[in-house]
Symmetry: C2
Subunit: 333 residues, 2 copies
């Protein structure tokens, strides 16, 4: 059975607003962070949206909780199943436990150990698989059928996209308090759930905002797909330090939204990513994982003209192993 993501049509803004209500009191209402020194350096009002401070250390909790909260009691009875490199895994595990239901997560054997350990600690059963030889979606479908469990997809799902979209509404709300509106919002892009939801939210709450996707080299499938007007697939031999963004191709729903709503895409190198992680450490005192830093990296490289503008980079997660983080802090290229 192939998943037909488009069967129900695209999510709309009312679904994002409903997600805000569902997440109230359960998700962390993260607040934009700003630095006077960085503003001066970049010549703009520059903010980060610190989603590493979100429950489970990334924005993924928003979508997972929204999706599970919308399941019927019957759908929930068999628990939930998800496949994920780690951040979605933790979001689903936490959200399932909060709803009192079981979760089974299919995770790559080479996922960062902090992500695997936390997912297990949050109450999930872990099923490891080999990213290069096995099909995680097929494994998940099989387990769903056996357990009569509900699938919680990582991005190509209306409920997930609408949950992640709450990030966009919060950005608009925080800026409004300061009498500002965003000229530019940059978001990391893997499968595209965060950025498509954010763009959907901002198309309503802040229609003049330009939303840009940021991707790491080798996994610039959304950037290329936007240029070609159709979904392209990354080279299967590509590797990246950004485990959170290693999706092979854009989602169907997410790309349809992104095609309509995004201003464009930006590609960053591993050197740019290291610089961004060190900037977040030094300037904002927050831990950003490699995949979580690509939007900040894109902003810092000067690929966009930000002078005099109001700019937000979403830092989407902070689940990085200590040894890798220390290595990146000590590096200076």
């Amino acid at each position: 059975m192939t998943h037909d993501a488009l069967a129900d049509g695209l999510p709309d803004i009312s679904l994002v607003k409903d997600a805000v209500q569902r997440l109230q009191g359960h998700a962390v209402r993260t607040r934009l962070l700003e630095s006077a020194l960085l503003n001066e350096r970049l010549g703009c009002r520059f903010f980060i949206k610190p989603e590493m401070l979100q429950r489970t250390g990334s924005f993924k909790f928003r979508g997972a909780y929204t999706r599970i909260s919308r399941l019927t009691d019957t759908e929930r009875a068999g628990g939930v199943v998800a496949f994920s490199s780690g951040n979605h895994a933790q979001g689903v595990a936490a959200a399932a436990t909060m709803h009192g239901i079981a979760s089974t997560i299919i995770m790559p054997e080479d996922a960062p150990s902090i992500k695997v350990e936390n997912t297990r600690a949050l109450g999930a059963t872990i099923v490891p698989y080999n990213r290069f030889t096995e099909d995680r979606e097929q494994i998940a479908e099989t387990i769903c059928a056996e357990k009569k469990a509900a699938m919680v997809r990582p991005y190509d799902d209306k409920d997930i996209i609408s949950g992640q979209g709450t990030v966009g509404l919060e950005i608009a709300e925080d800026l409004e308090i300061l009498g500002l509106s965003a000229d530019i919002v940059i978001a990391p892009c893997g499968g595209g759930g965060l950025i498509s939801g954010t763009a959907l939210a901002l198309s309503d709450a802040s229609p003049t905002t330009k939303v840009w996707a940021a991707e790491p080299e080798g996994f610039d499938d959304t950037v290329l797909s936007l240029v070609k007007g159709k979904r392209v697939i990354n080279d299967p031999n590509a590797r990246t330090i950004c485990d959170a963004l290693a999706s092979p191709t854009p989602g169907i729903l997410t790309f349809e939204l992104n095609r309509q709503l995004l201003a464009g895409g930006l590609v960053v190198s591993e050197t740019d990513i290291g610089k961004a992680m060190r900037e977040a450490f030094r300037t904002f005192k927050v831990v950003v994982e490699p995949g979580g830093s690509v939007a900040l990296a894109a902003a810092l490289t000067g690929k966009l003209d930000v002078a005099g503008k109001t700019v937000v980079a979403i830092c989407s997660g902070g689940n990085v192993d200590a040894d890798l983080y220390a290595k990146i802090l000590n590096s200076s290229d």
Copy 2:
């Protein structure tokens, strides 16, 4: 001329409430952070107050801004002078620049380079001194007299204490939203400005809360002074990784408040501090400097019975050099 800290009497709660108004829109309203996994591990509701997210990377901005905002135009005309290992320096520099006045900061030659660089970037003139052979207070008094500048003391001052006390009011407010009140609040203690202000605020906003001081080994002057009932001086040969807490003895005003208001003091080792910094990295995704982590360290060591309670550890700052931070992340003792 010796500074007579007690001449005006002790600060009271109305001064803290006034500081809240002054800081509105200028300081970051930091929100308590919580982790379901850590709650489970500690068997309590456990929160950190993340003051590394404060403007200039530590709580010190609160007191500095409050003090400068209360100077008369005449007092402000000659600018301000401060002595500091680095966090107060940055707070004063930022607050002075925001008020459009000059600042001169006397800083130890061996202060972390991130603190010196940021203080200069924030607009201050730096005067280096030797911590072991020179008297920073005397240097500051001389410059004040020459420039007709106002001194912004690091802790033994009503305005400073009342500004830092806003941390306590915010803790009470955040917990009230959750239907909780703090049983225990633990704060790092150097000269005692943060903890005395916090204890003063909580004595009004949450009178059943027990407030504990945390100090590093060798600089446990407040812990010892509380036991002896009078201010004692640390061994001048003592050294600590906690540059932010290396004050020789409690302040006069701060100790008078602490003597009346604190439940007691807790001493932590450098091993405890490393563990706490790694816990903050892994669990909360925030950067805590050594001195900023001593309250968290005290909570994690199990020195207090926290079972079933509501506990807050103030993480007071995140200004730590990358190489030291990486070394601590890589350590595992």
